[in-house]
């Protein structure tokens, strides 16, 4: 035991959590920070305000250059990084904006992972390299207008017609939908064909359209779409051959949810940092508001929750790298870190007073974004019930 202490206090890392990371892990984090500072930060407030992401393709290419897209997958042009690396990347991306992290999560953990894990060799060689460079964009269609938390009841169907498959139905709330070159679509192929099956759908096929969802008040710097499938005819080779049933989509969601365990803390960190700085500059009653005990209590609580969240994320990440995670362990992480990050953003907002609701500061944007993050990839209620089921053995959700 040492009786001395490390010399410096770093308000961004009070617990010296950086000492838990390797030099390479820090370099990965730094590379993502740099690309976000250059390619995202200068425009993100504007994109959010206008509710558009005009640079989506350029961003994807920039991210591809660094190796961000499908970074935790091996082969086919993917970087083959660890789960911890992937988590650190998600955190930095989401420190810029949850919508930008969503672009990367959906590309890498949903679209690419589905093909990488369950696809044929032909599907992998066709799609993964171009998705990894960002030349192509992918989306993942599971949710439907009438089925969200209960995707097993979906209405989209896949029907055999000779050697072909014909898809009919609609998907809703699909990230990247309108700009995607390829959609991984989940459809009910009937009991005789294994129930719910995945299909690799080039978005240029007749019968496929993806109108944009408008009037979002959250995740505005992200493209969200409806997928309309009207007699979409695909060759027999379009089906993901290696998986049957809900296990297919759920395995992908587990990957993306794991990224959110880290990502949400990025949004929290940015809001916390904005509030901490603001509190030291803003004066009322003749002194910085940081000098009031109520403000310090808020800051202390936010800092502690961020540290707790990072410890949980890092622990889950190391476990994932070593032995893999059970779904209820991912639920644990998403449940805690998203709810805490949202609380942090809301508290940060109060510290900024009226400026807290202004787009001149990132705080309200992060808070609003996290409302989506709380719901997608399994709602907070569903994750609560997953934890409940793990604790009691009783599934309370059905």
């Amino acid at each position: 035991m040492k009786t001395t202490s490390s010399r410096t206090t770093n308000p961004q890392d009070l617990a010296d959590l950086d000492s838990l990371l390797t030099a390479e892990e820090k370099a990965v984090r730094e590379a993502v920070r740099q690309v976000c500072d250059d390619a995202v930060e200068p425009s993100i407030a504007q994109w959010y305000e206008s509710g558009e992401l005009p640079a989506a393709r350029e961003l994807a290419r920039e991210f591809g250059k660094v190796g961000l897209l499908g970074m935790h997958l091996e082969g086919y042009g993917c970087a083959g990084m660890s789960a911890v690396d992937y988590g650190l990347a998600c955190l930095e991306l989401e420190a810029s904006d949850s919508g930008i992290r969503s672009l990367v999560s959906v590309q890498g953990s949903l679209a690419m992972f589905a093909i990488w894990r369950w696809g044929s060799e032909e599907q992998k060689t066709e799609w993964l390299p171009q998705l990894a460079t960002g030349e192509a964009i992918g989306c993942f269609g599971l949710t439907e207008p009438d089925f969200g938390s209960d995707p097993g009841s979906m209405r989209t169907t896949a029907r055999r017609d000779g050697g072909d498959w014909v898809l009919d139905g609609a998907k809703m709330w699909i990230t990247n939908g309108s700009i995607a070159d390829v959609a991984v679509v989940w459809a009910n192929a009937g009991e005789e064909n294994g129930g719910i099956r995945g299909f690799v759908v080039p978005t240029s096929v007749p019968g496929f359209s993806a109108p944009k969802i408008k009037h979002k008040m959250s995740l505005r710097a992200s493209i969200t779409s409806e997928l309309v499938l009207e007699g979409v005819r695909l060759p027999g080779s379009a089906i993901l051959p290696e998986v049957r049933g809900l296990k297919g989509p759920l395995s992908c969601l587990n990957e993306a949810r794991y990224g959110i365990v880290w990502g949400a803390l990025g949004a929290g960190r940015s809001a916390f940092e904005a509030a901490r700085r603001y509190s030291m500059e803003r004066e009322q009653f003749g002194r910085p508001i940081a000098g009031f005990q109520l403000t310090q209590a808020k800051l202390a609580n936010m800092a502690v929750e961020l540290i707790n969240g990072q410890l949980l994320a890092l622990h889950l990440g190391r476990r994932k790298d070593e032995v893999g995670l059970r779904p209820d362990q991912v639920s644990l992480g998403k449940y805690n870190n998203v709810t805490k990050a949202l609380e942090i953003c809301r508290t940060a907002r109060t510290i900024l007073g009226a400026n807290g609701i202004s787009g001149e500061f990132p705080v309200m944007r992060h808070a609003n974004n996290l409302e989506s993050v709380l719901t997608y990839e399994g709602t907070v209620e569903m994750h609560t019930l997953m934890i409940g089921q793990a604790l009691t053995g009783i599934p309370a959700y059905r």
Binding site: A23, E24, A27, G67, A79
Partner: protein
């Protein structure tokens, strides 16, 4: 084409700058990084080497750094960006070395390496002396072509452009030569994830003064030709002067600027 880039490890400019009791910059226990101005030199070396390799000529980039143990981080960063190998001169006796000693050590290290071109940044972001490139060229008997905003090479000569206030100079020198580059020359790349992983396996050769045949008496604070007598923190910024426009705002602004001899 064999290129050597001299890089320095400097304290992070974002952090607090601290000095040790002998008034030298505290390099222990502070976060350091590859001097930003050296990133341009690394980028330029990589661009040249890539173009040469693409046209079939074997090309390598070696980074050379003198600094304490932690300075390997700067070497590592350059390797992550894509450099092939690193040389790190590290010796306790080096602490407090001035520009003369630094150039002596770097020259000795360069004599152990093969090179056609030596690249450096235009200055270090901590010392800001900007003299090491010239001293180094002098010691090695190389043509020195400094402050390049553009570098072109053919097999035997290097040609640079140096942008001045009113004119751009074009300067040519035979190889081998030493070129320092400005922060206008390129956009340094970020290390890609593949670069980060590949760098783990790249060689870094650590050399002591003895390895270079130098004596501790030649370097370090005691051998320095210049000594920092005192350091003081800059006084806190004075509160600004607020001019409220009461119809005469423009005039008063001009009066202020004229008073400060700005207009």
């Amino acid at each position: 084409m064999k290129i050597v880039v001299c890089v320095k490890h400097v304290p992070d400019a974002q952090g607090d700058r601290r000095f040790t009791d002998d008034h030298t910059v505290d390099r222990e226990g502070v976060d350091g990084l590859l001097s930003e101005l050296d990133e341009y030199a690394v980028e330029e070396a990589l661009t040249i080497a890539e173009a040469r390799s693409a046209s079939g000529e074997d090309s390598t980039v070696t980074v050379l750094c003198m600094g304490p143990e932690g300075a390997t981080d700067a070497v590592r960063k350059a390797l992550q960006m894509g450099a092939d190998a690193g040389v790190h001169v590290c010796d306790d006796a080096l602490a407090g070395s001035d520009a003369l000693a630094t150039s002596k050590v770097l020259a000795a290290a360069l004599r152990t390496l093969e090179f056609d071109l030596v690249l450096t940044g235009m200055a270090s972001t901590d010392g800001l002396m900007s003299v090491v490139p010239a001293m180094l060229a002098q010691r090695l008997g190389l043509p020195q072509v400094t402050l390049a905003g553009k570098v072109e090479l053919d097999g035997t000569t290097v040609r640079i452009e140096r942008d001045g206030d009113s004119a751009t100079e074009v300067i040519e020198a035979p190889l081998p030569a030493l070129v320092s580059v400005t922060d206008q020359i390129n956009d340094p790349r970020y290390p890609s994830f593949k670069g980060i992983m590949a760098a783990k396996k790249k060689p870094v050769n650590t050399l002591s003064l003895a390895d270079l045949g130098l004596s501790p008496d030649d370097v370090g604070l005691s051998a320095a030709w210049s000594v920092v007598e005192a350091v003081a923190a800059r006084p806190p910024r004075q509160a600004g002067q607020r001019i409220t426009d009461e119809g005469d705002g423009g005039t008063r602004l001009v009066e202020f600027l004229a008073g400060a001899k700005i207009v």
